[in-house]
């Protein structure tokens, strides 16, 4: 930068020198002011950018949190299935000795077990299937197979029974299937074509080992009630096994095991595995 001296006249007096010094001081001040102003503008831009960055980061965090919350809530909203192996609350309901000691397992619903957990054995033994063929060995093998996959339970998932079915409901809870059947037979005269009656009767017959009869009640219900459907599909599979229709049962179980959200996926997987052996 040029010095103030060079702008002075040769015979400059003190006043002129002081004026020149003031001018140079003022110019330096203007230069610094301009610099400070420019940097202040840059600072403001930087602060705006930081605010935008923080907002963006907060937004991303919010979206992630919302995503996590969505997946958690979504999982909770999946159909609440009455677990097939939930024990009946009645005292007279005596489970098979093999499961008596495993308290925790009997409480935890199979359909809600984590994938890493091993599928426990069924809570109840399968009924004696109606003997179609005379081969005793074959029947024993079928019974053994049914015992391994007999994941059944009452009340039925998604089914709401009214006062009309109180007696049948009580008997089914007690697993007194004969009494339940007689009551449902009585009701059938009054409530022909009632879906609730059909489902209860189909279940009752299945638990009595009457697979073919059970299917006559289950089949018309297919696709009619979304909340019943998953359990109905599984029970149809069991009824097919009772009637020894292995191929049809296997096809059905394979369909179920491909549905990740199906509450009986793991049971179907097990059944398909056993049938494929």
């Amino acid at each position: 930068m040029e010095e103030s001296q060079q702008y002075l006249n040769d015979n400059a007096d003190d006043d002129e020198r002081r004026a020149a010094a003031q001018v140079m001081e003022g110019l330096a001040g203007l230069r610094l002011e301009a610099k400070v102003r420019a940097v202040a503008a840059e600072r403001a831009a930087l602060q705006r950018r930081i605010r935008r960055q923080r907002f963006f980061v907060a937004l991303v965090a919010l979206v992630l949190l919302a995503g996590v919350a969505y997946f958690i809530l979504k999982d909770k909203k999946t159909p609440v299935v009455v677990p097939p192996t939930v024990p009946q609350q009645q005292e007279q309901n005596t489970p098979p000795p093999a499961h008596k000691t495993d308290e925790k397992r009997t409480i935890e619903p199979i359909a809600q077990l984590r994938p890493s957990e091993r599928l426990p054995n069924p809570r109840y033994a399968a009924p004696e299937p109606t003997m179609i063929r005379g081969d005793e060995t074959e029947n024993k093998a079928r019974k053994a197979l049914l015992n391994q996959v007999w994941y059944t339970g009452y009340p039925l998932t998604g089914l709401k029974t009214g006062k009309t079915f109180n007696k049948a409901d009580e008997n089914l809870k007690k697993r007194d299937f004969n009494a339940a059947y007689l009551e449902l037979e009585r009701l059938e005269g009054q409530l022909a074509g009632n879906d609730t009656l059909f489902y209860l009767k189909g279940y009752c017959l299945m638990e009595m080992g009457e697979g073919s009869e059970a299917l006559t009640y289950f089949d018309p219900l297919q696709g009619r009630h979304a909340s019943w459907e998953p359990q109905l599909q599984w029970y149809r599979g069991l009824a097919l096994l009772l009637t020894d229709e292995r191929e049809k049962a296997l096809t059905l179980f394979k369909q179920l095991e491909t549905q990740p959200k199906h509450p009986y996926r793991r049971q179907a997987e097990k059944a398909a595995g056993l049938l494929s052996k």
């Binding site: 006043d15 001018v23 001081e25 110019l27 230069r31 940097v39 960055q53």
Partner: protein, 202 residues
Amino acid sequence: MRMIEWLAPSNPCRQFDGNERLFEALKRLDNAAILCVQTKAMPSARKFVQQYGLPPESADEVLNQSTFVFLQKIEDGSYQFQGHAPSTYLVEIVRRVALTMTRTQRKTHETLENHHDLHDPDVEAAQRQRESAELVRQFLAQMGEPCETVIRLHHLDGYSDEEVVRQGWTRYTTTDSLKIKRSDCMKKLVQIAQQWRSLNNT
């Protein structure tokens, strides 16, 4: 690439790997260097503003005034690098400027006698320089073109004569003619200042 830059943490000090390099850049009035020390001093400015009961929005003004004093001290050589972080010195100036602002506010309510010991020479020198700057701004406006531009390009914007001639920002096509014109303009500016001083008995 622009996205990565946008997302990268904003740190104006990143390019200065040591206090000495930062100080050298400050001597050159490098914008990034000034922004770096300001960023470091800003939290202190906010703290002092709160401590001294100044309005929160005055933190920016305190920092700007402090930066002015700070750069002035670097220019006149009264602040020399001694190994310490330059921002430490700026923070000290911020404290004094904030204190002076507090006193200025109080003065309006109290008698001047109570404040005879409240002078801060650095802050006052900066104030004087700002007043001189304002006067020179008025004188330059009074002179008009081409003197205003010729003086501004050299003394305020810091362009070399060669650059000014090359860019054609003035009517002067050689550095010699530009220098002669600027010398002439500066003499006129000094004369205007001298007249102003005699009129105002300063």
